[in-house]
């Protein structure tokens, strides 16, 4: 704060107004993601304890000591819980920091939140100028005063500089291409002189190739560009008021980075600019997923976040004493002499540790009771947890009020939500998430859709559920309580990426292996080619071949299915079902199906033993009569009917020449059986009229038939006319 005042004094008259301005911050107390489910169904993420202190306290304590005077806490999900907490905490009466809450239940994304604040703004004009935008799960100790000053100075020179983004160097893992916080590797381009952000990419980077696509204009318009792949986005932004109005103007902006930053970078019309600020010795990180929960906890224990560490009372927390080897222990912990509490461990107030326990690398909250011979490694045990004798807990998160009965085992990556009971000797499988609440049936596919059903119903449902639970028994052993959540499709492979548990060795080996294979493949394709042209050509070829091959397979499958249907006498409806499923799995059009089925039918007719052409015709027409329902299902439209005729033509020319002479007759049959309609035949004829002589063979064959058709239709028209008259 002192620095800010000094800064204000240095800048003379015209900025005096600005320097008198209160330093304000908007704190989003909702992450708008579902990454912390099921825990966040019952408690908002910002109130989850991080090394025994609610996350929001880290953020508020940092903002306060960085000289921020007023914070607007935007509450959405579980807003009452957050407001109640802030009311009772010491922030309410803090001399230097005014904490105000803004409540909105309709917002489902950061974009909505900022739009809501903008709307409020028109009435109350709370935000007076530049503000700091952070989320309530940020842990940092960076000074802000200078940065805000820098932002204001830049803004004064360049109206368009609306945002300054904080980044920090952090090397991503070479194997998983993940940052240490479990987020995807970030790729940014910055102007080395002005520090302007030119490109921001977090998801579309091709890790296997190690390449990224940049817009050509980027290089044209900037004399020099600095590319980073070892930066971490701290999600701390200094924003000018224009940012709010930008969100208002672009009502489809939801995500701060994916939409807003990219939108601003792409948009040339407004010409707004975003700048970056790299922090050196300070710490800043955001708890985005379970992996970063683990990482940030360890950073706090290792004191990177000093002075926001467990042995310092920084925001209403009760400090615990730091001993050797990074063991933080509250003064009233009851610990058995035979218990072995190892390095980097935090034990909270009133916790009892029994005989022969082994605790390592873990955080244990207040009021926990831990029985004898328990092993706890790399885990986060919150408050009032009871762990009975002989349990083994590795790399798990155990929420408030959980009871783990004797002999139970938690495998790595397990998350037990509030008040779950794990039954005797039950083994909770790795990466499972357990809650008293049932998993919401309909997964919101859109990640932006956050804890959809928030504060309102949770408590009611909880009481209802526990009753149900008793009657039902439990998924966690006979004396347990809780539902194991299904891991949703697709995310299964990704589960290990964001879990609290370290990535298992075999997974790492797998990725390395895959990468090596890829490299080998690359090598093969690259080595023999002399120039790049050829490799390109290769890739194009394969691309083209792929769908063709697919169709070939599909045709064979359809044929097989059809033959089986004929042999086993399967009903038409069931045949339709089977072929439909094939169609879906091969991603084919119904026209393709029609072609394939007709092909199979004719093939069957040809393959059926016959002595003369007339016999063949008989076979074919009987098959068509019998299976017209199946074919009819796919030839509802003229295009599909034409496809059938074309297919027929193709067959006659290539695979089944015997059918050639019978073309007109069979076409007639198809017409009679309503498989092919008049329109389709006419259009086919029209199309073919302009073709080569060779292609016209079948058209000529059918000439009389078509003639007849035309006359019939004219007659019909005449009839119609007469009727109309």
């Amino acid at each position: 704060m002192g620095a800010q005042k000094k800064g204000g004094a240095r800048v003379s008259d015209d900025s005096e107004e600005q320097s008198r301005q209160r330093l304000q911050a908007i704190l989003l107390a909702d992450s708008f993601t579902t990454k912390f489910r099921p825990v966040t169904l019952e408690r908002p993420k910002v109130l989850l304890p991080l090394v025994n202190v609610p996350m929001i306290d880290y953020t508020l304590a940092w903002l306060e000591s960085a000289g921020i005077e007023e914070v607007f806490v935007f509450c959405c999900a579980h807003s009452t819980q957050i407001i109640d907490y802030l009311e009772t905490s010491e922030w309410r009466t803090h001399p230097n920091l005014v904490v105000r809450t803004i409540e909105s239940h309709k917002s489902i994304s950061a974009g909505d939140a900022l739009r809501y604040i903008y709307e409020q703004q028109t009435e109350t004009s709370q935000i007076q100028g530049d503000f700091v935008l952070v989320s309530g799960d940020t842990v940092s100790n960076m000074p802000l005063a200078d940065l805000i000053h820098e932002h204001r100075e830049r803004k004064k020179k360049d109206e368009k500089a609306i945002m300054t983004m904080v980044i920090k160097k952090s090397k991503p893992s070479l194997i998983t291409h993940q940052s240490r916080l479990g987020t995807d590797q970030l790729f940014i381009a910055v102007d080395p002189l002005t520090k302007q952000l030119l490109h921001y990419e977090e998801d579309k980077v091709d890790h296997a190739r190690g390449s990224v696509c940049l817009d050509k204009s980027l290089m044209e318009s900037n004399p020099s560009v600095l590319l980073y792949n070892d930066m971490q986005d701290c999600y701390i932004d200094i924003c000018s008021p224009e940012v709010l109005s930008l969100f208002e103007d672009n009502f489809d902006y939801q995500h701060l980075r994916r939409h807003f930053v990219k939108g601003v970078l792409v948009d040339d019309i407004m010409g707004y600019k975003i700048f970056t600020h790299e922090i050196g010795s300070s710490y800043a990180a955001r708890v985005d997923n379970f992996r970063s929960y683990d990482t940030v906890s360890k950073d706090i224990i290792q004191r990177w976040t000093y002075p926001y560490v467990p042995d310092i009372n920084f925001g209403g927390n009760r400090p615990v004493k730091l001993g050797r080897e990074g063991i933080y222990r509250a003064c009233d912990v009851v610990q058995s002499r035979s218990a072995d509490v190892g390095a980097s461990t935090v034990v909270g107030y009133g916790t009892k540790i029994g005989n022969g326990d082994r605790i390592l690398n873990s955080v244990i909250g207040s009021g926990c009771i831990i029985g004898s011979n328990v092993v706890i490694e790399g885990s986060y045990i919150w408050n009032n947890v009871t762990i009975e004798d002989g349990c083994e807990i590795r790399n798990a998160i155990v929420c408030d009020g959980v009871r783990i009965r004797a002999g139970a085992v938690l495998e790595p990556g397990v998350v037990l939500s509030f008040k779950v009971v794990v039954g005797r000797d039950f083994v909770v499988p790795a990466y499972s998430k357990v809650s008293l609440l049932q998993q919401p049936m309909k997964e919101d596919s859109d990640e932006e859709l956050e804890y959809a059903d928030s504060s309102s119903g949770a408590a009611d449902r909880l009481s209802g559920l526990s009753l149900e639970m008793e009657s039902k028994g439990s998924e966690l052993g006979p004396d347990g309580a809780g539902y194991i959540w299904e891991v949703c499709e697709g995310a299964h492979d990704e589960e290990w990426k964001h879990s609290v548990a370290p990535i298992p060795e075999d997974k790492l080996a797998e990725i390395t292996q895959a990468m090596d294979d890829y490299d080998d493949m690359e090598d093969e394709s690259v080595v023999p080619t002399s120039g790049e042209l050829k490799s390109d050509a290769d890739s194009i070829n394969t691309d083209v071949n792929d769908p063709g091959d697919d169709y070939g397979y599909f045709e064979r499958e359809v044929e097989g299915t059809f033959l089986r249907a004929v042999e086993e006498g399967i009903k038409v409806e069931l045949g339709v079902l089977e072929i439909n499923s094939l169609r879906l799995s091969y991603n084919m059009e119904s026209a393709d199906c029609a072609g394939a089925i007709f092909y199979s039918m004719m093939k069957l007719a040809v393959d059926t033993p016959h002595s003369s052409a007339s016999e063949l015709y008989k076979n074919a027409s009987s098959i068509i009569t019998k299976w017209k329902g199946l074919l009819g299902f796919y030839v509802k439209q003229t295009d599909e009917q034409i496809e059938v005729i074309m297919k027929f033509e193709e067959m006659c020319q290539e695979t089944a020449k015997e059918l050639g002479p019978l073309f007109a007759q069979i076409l007639h049959v198809l017409y009679e059986k309503d498989v092919v309609q008049e329109d389709a035949i006419m259009r086919w004829a029209e199309e073919k009229a302009g073709a080569d002589e060779a292609d016209k063979v079948y058209l000529q064959q059918c000439e009389t038939f078509i003639q007849w058709l035309k006359e019939a239709s004219e007659e019909e028209d005449e009839d119609d006319d007469e009727e109309d008259d």
Partner: protein, 409 residues
Amino acid sequence: MPDVQSMVLEFVNKLRKRKIEGSQATARCTVELLRSVISHHRVPHANQASALIDAVKAVGAQLVAANPVELAVGNVVRRVLHIIREEDLSLATAAVAGLDLLDASDDDEDVNGKGIGYPGMSAAVVAAAARSTLRPPSLQTLLEGTPESATVPYTSSSGADSESKTADKSSITRKLKHDVIEGVNQLIHEIAGCHEQIAEQAIEHIHQNEVILTLGSSRTVLEFLCAAKEKKRSFRVFVAEGAPRYQGHLLAKELVARGLQTTVITDSAVFAMISRVNMVIIGAHAVMANGGVIGPVGVNMAALAAKKHAVPFVVLAGSHKLCPLYPHNPEVLLNELRSPSELLDFGEFSDCLDFGTGSGSPLLQVVNPTFDYVPPSLVSLFITDTGGHNPSYMYRLIADYYSADDLVM
């Protein structure tokens, strides 16, 4: 009262966030805060001293809890408590000794209002007199065999006083607050002036053409060296840089600005350079009751090097740094571990701190302690604002400043 409350909160907040650095600044802020606590405290008529003591203790406990590493806070709180006890005692004796005098002064005060002390005799003088006559644990009295009348009889006697002389009590209490504030002002003055007091002695310790080694940065050391320079002593200073915060660099800058011949060396070069050094002078963070010193990290190494080469190891400490506790005391938090970022660049080492791969347990640990403890056997001399003292005498010196009742807060 509410403004005092918010002042306390603000100071507590600053202490918690480690925003105030240096024991002198902390001590000064603490004593100023306590003065306003005392002056705003509404005192009851009976048992005023204990009411004041309770008020100060309550605030003191908050301050100490806010930053237990900064021992100066506790020291100053104890000093203030000691002042209250002394003033109470001296008033009690004065009341017994000369009722007439008190009555006269009382009338005087009623006329002129508060703020005017004794017409004839200042409170300080009375207090000093009372101290000299009444203080029980002085070396002389002990030798003379006077029965030890520590604090227990004193409280009982004051209690008896309050019962018997209720009429006098009101005047005594009004006086008490005034006297206490006077005493606290003196303490503020003392803390503010400790540098000069210590620096005055510089000429006796630093001789011509000597080489002085110091480590880290201390204002007291700076003033001490400059005082010797001003007295036309010519000498050279070696400054060990004091990793990882490198405050030695700042000290070197200041020394050069004042025209002193300065050499900067790394901490690890201390042992190599010590043979050329005539005296090691360092500033302390705190001096414990046993004569042990808490100083910037690396000091113990310098002390050992000095011992090995029989170089005098001199510690400068203002009286507010004298801590009545022993280092083995469970309440004493001797050290503070600061952020590893002072040692390592986070970005450079971030791949070593990736918990997602491997066993998940941090393989890289960084320990960054702020302080070092030097045992009394390595210290040659303490220079405080009252003069030079032997380490073994420190407990005696401390007994002059603190009363035994306040050691545990």
